[in-house]
C-alpha cells in the first residue's frame, strides 16, 4: 500500500501543465489509481487474510466464505467487481467490514484506502449502529437487530435554524456507551436530530461560499484585479480579442462563480452540448478516474447544500475541499497580487483543508483517492497551484470540444 501512494505522490511532483505530453501523463496517473477489485485484493493480502497472489476467484471465494460464516448474504455482484471493475455501495462496504471481522480502526482504514470514501457518518443512524456494533465486536445480525428496534430513519432533512446535531458530538457520545439498551434509548430520543447530514460541513461551505461569491468577494476581486484572461485556450485569443468582453459576469451567479473557480470562466457550454452542467467534460476521459468524476463538485450539489438539502457525503466532501482550496489561493492572490506562491503556503493550504475536513468529520486528503490526488497534485506543483488545478480542468474542456467537433 505504501508503494502505491508513494508512486502517486512522486507522479504528482513530476507533472507540469506546460509539458507537451501533459495529457498523456495525466492518463498514466489515472491508470495508477487502483480499481476497487485491485485495492480489495491488496488489502486482503496485506492483512494476511488471503495468500500472496490470489486470483479473482480466490478473492470471491474468500468473500463468500467470510460472509456466510458471518451470517451475511454474499454481495450479488461480487463477480462484476472483478469482471467490470464495478464500485461498491456503502451498505456492501459495511457488510464486508462485518464479514472480515474488522475492528473500528481497521474499518475506518478499509473505507479510506479500499473504498476511497469517508468512514462512519455520525448523522446516519444506521452507520452509528454499525459503528457501535463493530466497536463492541457484535455480529452483523446483532447490528440488524438493533436497527430493527429504532425508529424509521429520515434521510431528507433541511438544516434550519436552531440546534443542529454535530457529527463529533454524536460519535463521542455513542463511543462512550456500553449497552444496546442505552444506544437504542439514545437513538430513539434523539431521532429528530438525525437526518441532518454534514451540518458542520454545510456551515463551512456556506461561509466559504459567501466569502467567495459575495459582491466584492474573492471571486469578484480576482476578476477585477486580474482581468481573468483565460485567453490561452480560446479561439478569441488568437483573434486578439479580450475575453472580458466575451464573458463579463452580469451578476455573481452561482454558475458564473463556480466556473471561475474551476478556471472555466470563458467556456461556451453550447460547444459541449450542455447547459449549466460540466458532466460532458468529466465523462469518459482517460485521465479522469471514475471515482474523481463521481460526485465531482457541481452547480446542483452546491445549490442544494446552500439551500440546506441533503446530498451525498462524497459530494459534500468534494465541494468543501474545492472551496477551501480556492478560498485559500484567492485570499493569497488578493493579498499578494500574484498567482505564484511560496513553498510554505502549499503545506499550509493542505493543512487548512485537512482542518476543515477534520472539523466536519471527514477523512483528510488522501493521495490514493483520485479526486484528492488532483488537489494534492496541484499543491505539489509548487509555483502556481490554482492555475495548475485550472490547467487540468481546461485540459478536460479542450479535449471535450475537440471530441465534439
Amino acid at each position: 500500500m505504501g508503494r502505491y501512494t508513494d508512486s502517486l505522490e512522486e507522479m504528482s511532483y513530476e507533472l507540469y501543465p506546460d509539458d507537451e505530453d501533459f495529457e498523456q501523463k495525466l492518463a498514466e496517473v489515472a491508470g495508477q489509481f487502483r480499481p476497487f477489485d485491485v485495492a480489495l485484493t491488496d488489502y486482503l493480502v496485506e492483512n494476511g487474510m488471503i495468500g500472496e497472489t490470489p486470483s479473482a476467484d480466490d478473492v470471491i471465494a474468500y468473500i463468500t466464505e467470510c460472509c456466510k460464516s458471518a451470517g451475511i448474504e454474499p454481495p450479488r455482484h461480487r463477480k462484476k467487481w472483478f469482471s467490470e471493475h464495478k464500485l461498491i455501495g456503502r451498505k456492501t462496504a459495511f457488510e464486508l467490514c462485518f464479514a472480515f471481522g474488522l475492528n473500528l480502526e481497521q474499518a475506518e482504514d478499509f473505507f479510506r484506502r479500499v473504498c476511497l470514501e469517508r468512514g462512519f457518518d455520525g448523522h446516519d443512524m444506521t452507520e452509528i449502529v454499525y459503528r457501535y456494533a463493530i466497536r463492541k465486536e457484535l455480529s452483523y445480525s446483532q447490528a440488524q437487530d438493533i436497527l430493527s428496534r429504532i425508529p424509521p430513519i429520515k434521510t431528507e432533512n433541511k438544516i434550519g435554524a436552531g440546534e443542529v446535531v454535530y457529527t463529533e458530538m454524536i460519535q463521542a457520545e455513542v463511543d462512550e456507551m456500553d449497552s444496546e439498551e442505552e444506544l437504542i434509548s439514545y437513538l430513539t430520543e434523539a431521532s429528530d436530530g438525525f437526518g441532518y447530514n454534514n451540518a458542520t460541513a454545510t456551515r463551512f461551505i456556506r461561509s466559504l461560499w459567501n466569502e467567495i461569491s459575495k459582491e466584492d468577494g474573492l471571486a469578484a476581486k480576482e476578476r477585477r484585479d486580474h482581468h481573468m484572461n483565460y485567453a490561452e485556450n480560446t479561439e478569441d485569443y488568437d483573434k486578439g480579442e479580450s475575453l472580458m468582453r466575451i464573458r463579463t459576469p452580469k451578476d455573481d451567479s452561482l454558475w458564473e462563480v463556480y466556473l471561475q473557480i474551476l478556471g472555466l470562466g470563458y467556456i461556451d457550454t453550447k460547444k459541449i452540448g450542455t447547459d449549466r452542467s460540466l458532466k460532458p467534460i468529466l465523462k469518459n476521459k482517460d485521465f479522469m478516474h471514475p471515482l474523481a468524476e463521481d460526485s465531482f463538485p457541481d452547480r446542483d450539489g452546491l445549490n442544494k447544500i446552500l439551500n440546506g438539502e441533503h446530498v451525498s457525503h462524497e459530494r459534500v466532501r468534494k465541494i468543501l475541499i474545492l472551496l477551501a482550496f480556492y478560498r485559500y489561493w484567492a485570499r493569497l492572490l488578493v493579498e499578494t497580487g500574484d498567482y505564484e506562491v511560496k513553498g510554505g503556503e502549499l503545506i499550509r493550504c493542505e493543512q487548512t483543508i485537512n482542518n476543515y475536513l477534520e472539523d466536519a468529520g471527514y477523512p483528510a486528503l488522501y493521495i490514493g483517492n483520485p479526486y484528492d490526488w488532483l488537489i494534492l497534485y496541484s499543491l505539489a506543483n509548487s509555483e502556481i497551484p490554482l492555475m495548475t488545478f485550472r490547467g487540468f480542468m481546461q485540459e478536460l474542456y479542450t479535449r471535450t470540444v475537440e471530441e465534439t467537433q
Binding site: 440546534e163 446535531v165 463529533e168 458530538m169 463521542a172 457520545e173 462512550e176 456507551m177 456500553d178 442505552e182 439514545y186 430520543e189 434523539a190 436530530g193 458542520t200 463551512f204 461561509s207 459582491e215 466584492d216 476578476r223 477585477r224 482581468h227 479580450s242 472580458m244 468582453r245 463579463t248 485559500y328 485570499r331 493569497l332 493579498e335 510554505g344 503556503e345 503545506i347 499550509r348 493543512q351 487548512t352 485537512n354 482542518n355 476543515y356 477534520e358 472539523d359 466536519a360 483528510a364
Partner: protein, 985 residues
C-alpha cells in the same frame, strides 16, 4: 441532546474511608459529598482530623472507570467483570499519581498544580488524597473583567511552561482543568495530568495514551500525529482557552487559517471599551497560537507568557488612553506618488501641521488615509475626525474622539470640555506619536486651533478652501496626472478599456479634467451598464469644467466654478441613472447622517427598507460608501442631492427611520433632526416633531445653537405634535431661551402655545402652560420679588396669577383624568406647583401670621396626600418622581419650620428624612443645588453653624470627585465662599 447516563454509584455521604485501619499509615477520611466525575474516576470532597483534632478538608479521587462494567457492593467494594482491564486502569491511576507527585514537587509548580498527598488501596480499588483549596473551575459563567481572564490564562501558560521545563507536555488545556483559587484571581491550579507525556518520548509513544478534548486540541493531536506533537501543541491549547473565554465558543477550522480574522462584534467583551491595540494584539496572539500549521505557532511557551502579559496590560481599563479613530482605507490608490511622498514625509517629521487643500471630490481624504495606512506602524494613535460646527465642537465630540475615562458632563459647556479634554490628551500622549486629522474643515483658524496645536500632536487639516496659513506646510491636491487617469478609470470599470472606447475616454477626461470622484462615479456607472461612455461624454461636455491646477491663485479662481461643474455632472448622472423610488429613498435617508455615517445594520433596522440589497447596488454604483458596514455619502454627492424633491417613498422611509430613532443614539438623532429641519416635506410630520420633542427633553447644554433655533419651528409643530409631548418640549425650549436672556423669543413661543392651548380646552395642558408662563415672569423678574417699579409690580402679580392658575388647572386635571398615567402625572404636578408656591411665600415671610397659617394649612394638606402614597403602590417607573416630590415637600416643610417657627428639631428631622431618600437627581450637581445648599442654609439660619459647615463640606467633597471639570470647580468655589461666610458670620 440527552446526556449520557452515568451508572456509576458514588460512595454515600458520611462514608468513612479509614486508610489507617488495616495496618497501613493514613488517616480516616469522611466523605461529605461528590465533587465531580471524570472518565476514570469519581472525585469526592471530605475531611480528616489532624493530630490536634482539627477538621481538614480534602479531595478524594477514587479509581472507577466509566468504560468498564462495574458494580459496587453495599460495603462499598468495587468489582469488575473484566479484571484485566480494571487492573490496567489501576496501574495508570498509580502512574498518574506518581507523575503528579513529581510535578508537584517541581520548583515553581507547587502552587499551580494540585497537591496529591497520598495513594491508598481500599474497596478493591485505589484512592488518592488531594489537598483542598477554595475556588472553582474556570467557566464562562464567571463575569470576570477581561484583564483578570487574561491574567488567569497567563498563569496557566506559566504553569505549562514549567511542565515543559521539566520535560513534559501537558496536552489537556481546557476550562475544566483550570481551577481558579478564591484567594487571588491570578492563582490557579491545573487539574488532571492523565494526558501528560514526556517531550522526548517520541520513540516510545506506545507507552502513553494520547487523548484530546474537542476544541482545545490542534490538528496534529486530533490526528494522533505523535511525531508532530510538541511544545506548540500546548501553545494551541492556551490560545484555544483564551479564544473560548473571549468568544464563548471553541475555535474551528476557519479560526485557525492563516487568513483568519478575529472580529470583536461577537466577543463577550465590548471592544469599544478597550484600547484598539488590545484587539489587534489579541488577533495576532490567536494567529500565532491557533495556526493550523505548527511552524506558524509560537514554538515555546515563553513568548506566549510574554504576550499574555502585554495583553493583560492593554486590557487594563483603569489606565487612561485614547481610542484610535476608524477611517476607511482604499487599498492601492492610483498614482499620487509625489503627493503621497509629501504626506508621508510630514508624518515622519514628528511635528507641525500640514494643510491638504483641494476641491471637493478630488481625492484629498483618500490620499491622506492611504498615507496614514502606510505609516500606521510608526504612529501610536491616529485620530481621524470629521469637522462639524466648529473645531471646539469637533474635538469635544466623544463619538469621534474618545478618551476611555473621559466623558462630557451635561453641566459643562463645549468650551469647558474642549479645554479639559485637550489637557487630558496632552498628559497621556506626552511620549506618543499621535496624528490628528480634521477632514472637511471649514471656517477660520482661531484660538481653538492654536490650543489644538499646543497639544504636541501632528495635525493634518483637510479643506476645500484655501486657508491663510503662515509657517505651515501646504499641499495642494489637484487632479490625477493624465497618464494615470486611464488606470484610475479602469480600476473602477474593473476591466481594461477597449481600443474603440479610447477616443470617448479621452473626450471624457478632457471634460472632467481627471476629477477623481467624477471619474469613479462615471466608471462605476459604465461598469454596471447604467450609463454608456458616449452618454457620459455628452453629460460632461455640458458641465463646462476648467482645467484643475495646483496653482494656489488659480485654485481660488477656478475652485468655485469647477465645484459647480462637478455638482452639475453628478446631478446629470443621477438623472441618467434613472434611480427608482427605493434607491432615492435610501440615498436621501442615508444623507441625513453626518460623517462618519451610520452602521448599515442600524440603518436597515431603522428605515425598515424592504430590500437591503439596494444599498449594495447603490454602493457599487458609487453613490453610497460602504466600508466595514458603515454607510455614508460623500459630501460632494450629498451636495448634488440637495435640490432633490422628496417623494412619498422617501418621506415614508425617513418617517419610519425617525420613529425608530426615538430611543436611539442621541448623536444620530441630532444629525437627522438638524438635516431634516432643512427639508419641509419630511419635516412636516408627526415623527419629526415627536423625535424633536424627545430630544428637547434631554437636550445637552452644548447643543444650545440648535436648541434655540428650534423656536422657529414651534408654530409648525403645533400641527403635527402630540400636545403633551409638545408642551414638555417647549417647556425646555423656553427654559433655554430664558436662560439665554432671549425673552422676546420666549414670549413669541408662549404666545403660539397660548393659542394652541385655548383650542384644546384641556386642564392638564392649561396647567402646564400656566406654569411655563409663571416661570417666564420669574425669569424676567430675575429674583426682584421686592418690587420697586410699576413694571416689576405688574410682572410680580402676573407671575402669582399664572402660578395660581397653574395650580387650579392641575388640580382639575388630576381629578378629571380618566387614565392612570395622566392622573399620576397631574397629581404629582399639582403637589409640585403648590409646594413651589408655598416656598416662594415662606422665603419672603415677614411675620404675617395669616400667611403663615395659610401656608401651614396647605403644607399639612400636602403632607396628608403624600403620606397616603405607600411604597408598595408606586410603580417602579414612578419611583423617581415620587422621591423627588417627597424631597420637595420635606424641603418646604423644613423651610417653613426654619423661617416661620425656628424649630431646630423638626428641621433636623426633615433633613434626616431627605438624606434617607434615594437620590432622584440626574447629576451630582443637582444634588448639591437642590439638597445640600438649601439644607446648609437652613442650618445656618437656625444658628447651627457646625452642622452647616458639615453639610457644605459634603458638597465640597462631591466637587472634589469631579476634579478638573469646570462646573464642579466653579461650584466648589461657591461652596468655599459659603463656608467662609458661615464661619465668619
Amino acid at each position: 441532546m440527552r446526556q449520557l447516563t452515568d451508572k456509576r454509584q458514588a460512595l454515600p455521604k458520611y462514608t468513612v474511608l479509614d486508610f489507617g485501619s488495616e495496618g497501613s499509615r493514613g488517616y480516616a477520611y469522611t466523605i461529605t459529598g461528590e465533587s465531580g466525575r471524570g472518565a476514570s474516576c469519581i472525585v469526592y470532597q471530605g475531611y480528616y482530623e489532624n493530630s490536634l483534632g482539627e477538621k481538614k478538608t480534602v479531595y478524594i479521587k477514587e479509581c472507577y472507570p466509566f468504560s468498564l462494567k462495574m458494580s459496587r457492593s453495599s460495603s462499598g467494594e468495587l468489582t469488575c467483570e473484566d479484571e484485566t482491564a480494571f487492573e490496567s486502569h489501576k496501574k495508570r491511576f498509580k502512574d498518574s499519581f506518581s507523575l503528579c507527585n513529581r510535578i508537584f514537587e517541581t520548583e515553581g509548580l507547587t502552587n499551580t498544580t494540585s497537591n496529591y498527598m497520598d495513594i491508598h488501596e481500599k474497596n478493591g480499588t485505589l484512592y488518592t488524597v488531594i489537598t483542598y483549596r477554595q475556588g472553582q473551575e474556570l467557566s464562562l459563567s464567571d463575569e470576570r473583567p477581561l484583564k483578570e481572564t487574561i491574567r488567569i490564562i497567563k498563569s496557566v501558560a506559566k504553569a505549562i511552561l514549567k511542565i515543559h521545563d521539566n520535560g513534559y507536555l501537558y496536552l489537556d488545556t481546557k476550562p475544566d482543568n483550570v481551577f481558579v483559587l478564591d484567594e487571588m484571581n491570578e492563582s490557579i491550579q491545573l487539574f488532571d495530568f492523565d494526558s501528560m507525556i514526556p517531550i522526548d518520548a517520541r520513540g516510545s509513544m506506545k507507552d502513553y495514551r494520547l487523548s484530546y478534548s474537542r476544541g482545545f486540541a490542534p490538528l496534529e493531536q486530533r490526528k494522533g500525529r505523535l511525531d508532530l506533537i510538541s511544545r506548540p501543541t500546548d501553545v494551541y491549547g492556551v490560545g484555544a482557552l483564551l479564544f473560548y473565554m473571549v468568544y464563548g465558543r471553541i475555535p474551528e477550522a476557519p479560526d485557525c487559517e492563516p487568513f483568519a480574522t478575529y472580529g470583536f462584534d461577537d466577543a463577550r467583551y465590548e471592544a469599544w471599551r478597550y484600547r484598539d491595540r488590545l484587539f489587534s494584539n489579541i488577533s495576532n496572539f490567536f494567529k500565532k497560537t491557533l495556526a493550523v500549521s505548527i511552524e506558524d505557532r509560537y514554538q515555546t511557551m515563553d513568548p506566549v507568557v510574554d504576550q499574555l502579559a502585554l495583553l493583560e496590560k492593554d486590557a487594563d481599563l483603569a489606565t487612561i488612553f485614547l481610542k484610535d479613530s476608524y477611517y476607511p482605507v482604499r487599498i492601492g490608490i492610483v498614482g499620487r506618488e509625489s503627493e503621497s511622498e509629501k504626506v508621508c514625509e510630514f508624518i515622519d517629521s514628528h511635528e507641525g501641521c500640514l494643510f491638504v487643500i483641494g476641491m471637493g471630490g478630488i481625492g484629498k481624504s483618500t490620499l491622506v488615509r492611504s498615507c496614514l495606512d502606510r505609516k500606521r506602524e510608526d504612529i501610536d494613535t491616529v485620530l481621524y475626525l470629521y469637522f462639524h460646527d466648529s473645531l471646539t465642537e469637533t474635538i469635544a465630540d466623544d463619538r469621534q474622539l474618545m478618551v476611555n475615562t473621559l466623558e462630557r458632563m451635561s453641566e459643562e459647556t463645549t468650551e469647558e470640555y474642549f479645554d479639559r479634554k485637550l489637557r487630558t490628551i496632552r498628559r497621556i500622549t506626552e511620549d506618543q506619536k499621535v496624528v490628528l486629522v480634521i477632514d472637511n474643515f471649514e471656517g477660520e483658524l482661531g484660538e481653538e486651533f492654536a490650543a489644538i496645536r499646543e497639544v504636541g500632536w501632528q495635525v493634518i487639516m483637510i479643506s476645500r478652501t484655501d486657508l491663510e496659513v503662515e509657517d505651515d506646510l501646504v499641499l495642494y491636491v489637484n487632479a490625477v496626472v493624465v497618464p494615470e487617469r486611464k488606470a484610475l478609470f479602469e480600476r473602477y470599470l474593473a476591466r481594461p478599456l477597449e481600443e474603440n472606447e479610447k477616443t470617448e475616454f479621452d473626450s471624457l477626461m478632457d471634460h472632467i479634467q481627471g476629477h477623481t470622484l467624477a471619474t469613479e462615479i462615471i466608471a462605476k456607472q459604465v461598469k454596471r451598464s447604467l450609463l454608456t461612455l458616449r452618454q457620459a461624454v455628452e453629460i460632461t461636455a455640458r458641465a463646462g469644467f476648467s482645467k484643475i491646477t495646483g496653482d494656489p491663485v488659480a485654485f481660488s479662481r477656478d475652485g468655485v466654478h469647477n465645484h459647480k461643474a462637478v455638482i452639475r455632472i453628478l446631478s446629470d448622472i443621477f438623472k441618467a441613472d434613472n434611480l427608482n423610488e427605493a434607491e432615492r429613498a435610501i440615498l436621501q435617508a442615508v444623507s441625513l447622517f453626518d460623517l462618519p455615517g451610520i452602521v448599515k445594520e442600524t440603518f436597515v433596522g431603522l428605515s425598515k427598507i424592504p430590500d437591503p440589497s439596494v444599498i449594495t447596488d447603490l454602493s457599487l454604483s458609487g453613490w453610497i460608501s460602504e466600508d466595514k458596514d458603515i454607510l455614508s455619502i460623500h459630501p460632494v454627492i450629498r451636495e448634488a442631492m440637495q435640490t432633490w424633491d422628496w417623494h412619498d417613498f422617501s418621506i415614508t422611509t425617513t418617517r419610519q427611520m425617525m420613529d425608530g430613532l426615538a430611543d436611539g443614539d442621541k448623536r444620530l438623532m441630532l444629525s437627522v433632526l438638524k438635516n431634516v429641519k432643512e427639508h419641509e416635506a419630511p419635516r412636516k410630520n408627526p415623527e419629526y416633531y415627536g423625535l424633536l420633542c424627545d430630544w428637547l427633553k434631554e437636550a445637552p447644554r452644548h447643543e444650545e445653537d440648535f436648541l434655540l433655533s428650534v423656536k422657529d419651528l414651534v408654530d409648525e409643530a403645533t400641527g403635527y405634535s402630540d400636545p403633551v409631548k409638545l408642551m414638555n418640549g417647549v417647556d425646555f425650549l423656553c427654559y433655554a431661551l430664558e436662560d439665554a436672556r432671549e425673552f422676546d423669543d420666549a414670549s413669541t413661543v408662549l404666545a403660539i402655545m397660548d393659542d394652541f392651548i385655548r383650542e384644546k380646552d384641556d386642564p392638564y395642558l392649561s396647567g402646564l402652560f400656566e406654569s411655563m408662563l409663571g416661570q417666564f415672569y420669574d425669569g424676567v423678574l430675575n429674583g426682584a420679588y421686592e418690587v420697586e417699579t410699576e413694571e416689576e409690580a405688574n410682572l410680580f402679580s402676573a407671575m402669582i396669577e399664572a402660578i395660581e392658575r397653574s395650580i387650579a388647572y392641575m388640580g382639575q386635571a388630576a381629578k378629571k383624568a380618566t387614565d392612570e398615567k395622566r392622573r399620576f402625572e397631574a397629581g404629582i404636578l399639582f403637589i409640585r406647583y403648590r409646594l413651589d408656591y408655598a416656598v416662594m411665600f415662606i422665603r419672603g415671610y415677614e411675620g404675617d401670621k395669616k400667611t403663615a397659617k395659610a401656608i401651614f394649612k396647605d403644607l399639612k394638606s400636602i403632607r396628608n396626600e403624600i403620606s397616603a402614597i405607600t411604597d408598595s403602590e408606586i410603580a417602579p417607573e414612578h419611583q423617581r418622581k415620587v422621591n423627588e416630590m417627597r424631597i420637595h415637600f420635606l424641603l418646604a416643610w423644613a423651610w417653613y419650620h426654619t423661617m416661620v417657627k425656628g424649630n431646630v428639631g423638626v428641621v433636623s428631622e426633615a433633613i434626616a428624612d431627605i438624606n434617607a431618600i434615594e437620590s432622584p437627581w440626574n447629576t451630582k450637581m443637582d444634588d448639591i443645588d437642590f439638597r445640600i445648599v438649601p439644607c446648609a442654609e437652613m442650618m445656618f439660619l437656625l444658628g447651627l453653624k457646625d452642622k452647616a459647615v458639615d453639610i457644605i463640606n459634603e458638597g465640597i467633597a462631591i466637587c472634589d470627585e469631579y476634579e478638573g471639570i469646570v462646573p464642579y470647580e466653579r461650584k466648589k468655589s461657591e461652596l468655599l465662599e459659603h463656608l467662609e461666610d458661615v464661619r465668619t458670620m
